[in-house]
Symmetry: C2
Subunit: 157 residues, 2 copies
DNA sequence: TCTTAGTACGACCATATTGATCGGAGATCA
DNA sequence: TGATCTCCGATCAATATGGTCGTACTAAGA
């Protein structure tokens, strides 16, 4: 339950990759193209392209056309929150259908609905959570899993 | 994004209703049947029936067969968490596909995946959130919306 | 004991969402 | 000017979901 879509997954991976290249030690400031990311993470290239397009349209990254083109973060990694990324791809956060009802629309249950208020609270908490986490937190803060050692792999049974 | 299913919605409504009847002032201890809930909240009866069956199978409520039959909470409202209810209906919480990978299964991206660890953290936080909220919190804590006044009803057109 | 109101259960269909694919147009650099 | 790349829209297939139907089983009451 509460699963996020593959597209959102891809978006997070791609952004993390772009950020780590851009601010990494090896080739800082380098432009990253779709193909590179797709191959690195085994993502269908066309789908990834579409995801990146959306991200660029929403101002998360900026695109550079032509050969030697590619993508660059539009802002610093610290200024891009997980909430922003997810909402770029999947639309506004909404635990329940009636989360962003405009006036005039009502769900069939609204009249006697008894769970709307508490659910909105939950939703708000989740939103806080995702807003307080940035791309930067996904870079250095959390060590990547190292499943290189045979022993570690054996444990997972 | 992160929407919960209609079924889960219905489950929450139904349980809230059962709890409020069972522990309310009017007819405490009364058994509630599917039809009553379905009519009260405009839920398709057959679908609600299925939801209630699942809830009963998962030990959230107990069913009483035959005429004058219906459903009763299996435990006190305080002992039933939102997380339990949602998981009963939608299966285990999993922000991402690789949340509960068994041995041998790997997502195509796993090898170089850079977002697994931070995402699992997020997931854990959400789980905490849902586990700390119980059915009881949905009863008294949050005042029900009262739109009984004719003016308010007239708006819905 | 028989009838009837109710739940239990499983198969089924329609539709919406999502993942994935294809093709052409515009931009940039060699 | 040609090759390489992003951009953008249309489209298809697979899956998940919401919703329906029919039948069997159980218990209360006449």
């Amino acid at each position: 339950m509460l699963k996020i879509s593959k597209k959102a997954d891809y978006a997070l991976m791609a952004l993390q990759h772009i950020a780590s290249v851009q601010f990494g030690d090896v080739t800082p400031g380098r432009v990253v193209n779709t193909k590179e990311i797709a191959e690195e993470y085994n993502i269908p290239p066309e789908l990834l392209a579409k995801v990146l397009q959306v991200l660029s349209k929403n101002g998360m990254i900026e695109s550079h056309n032509g050969p030697k083109g590619g993508y660059l973060l539009a802002r610093s990694a610290r200024q891009i929150t997980i909430a922003q990324i997810l909402e770029s791809i999947e639309g506004p956060l909404g635990i329940t259908d009636c989360s962003h009802e405009k006036e005039g629309e009502f769900c069939m249950q609204r009249e006697h609905c008894n769970i709307r208020t508490p659910l909105l609270k939950v939703q708000d908490s989740i939103y806080q959570l995702l807003s307080n986490m940035t791309l930067e937190d996904m870079l250095g803060g959390t060590p990547l899993i190292t499943i290189q050692s045979p022993s570690a792999q054996g444990v997972e049974r």
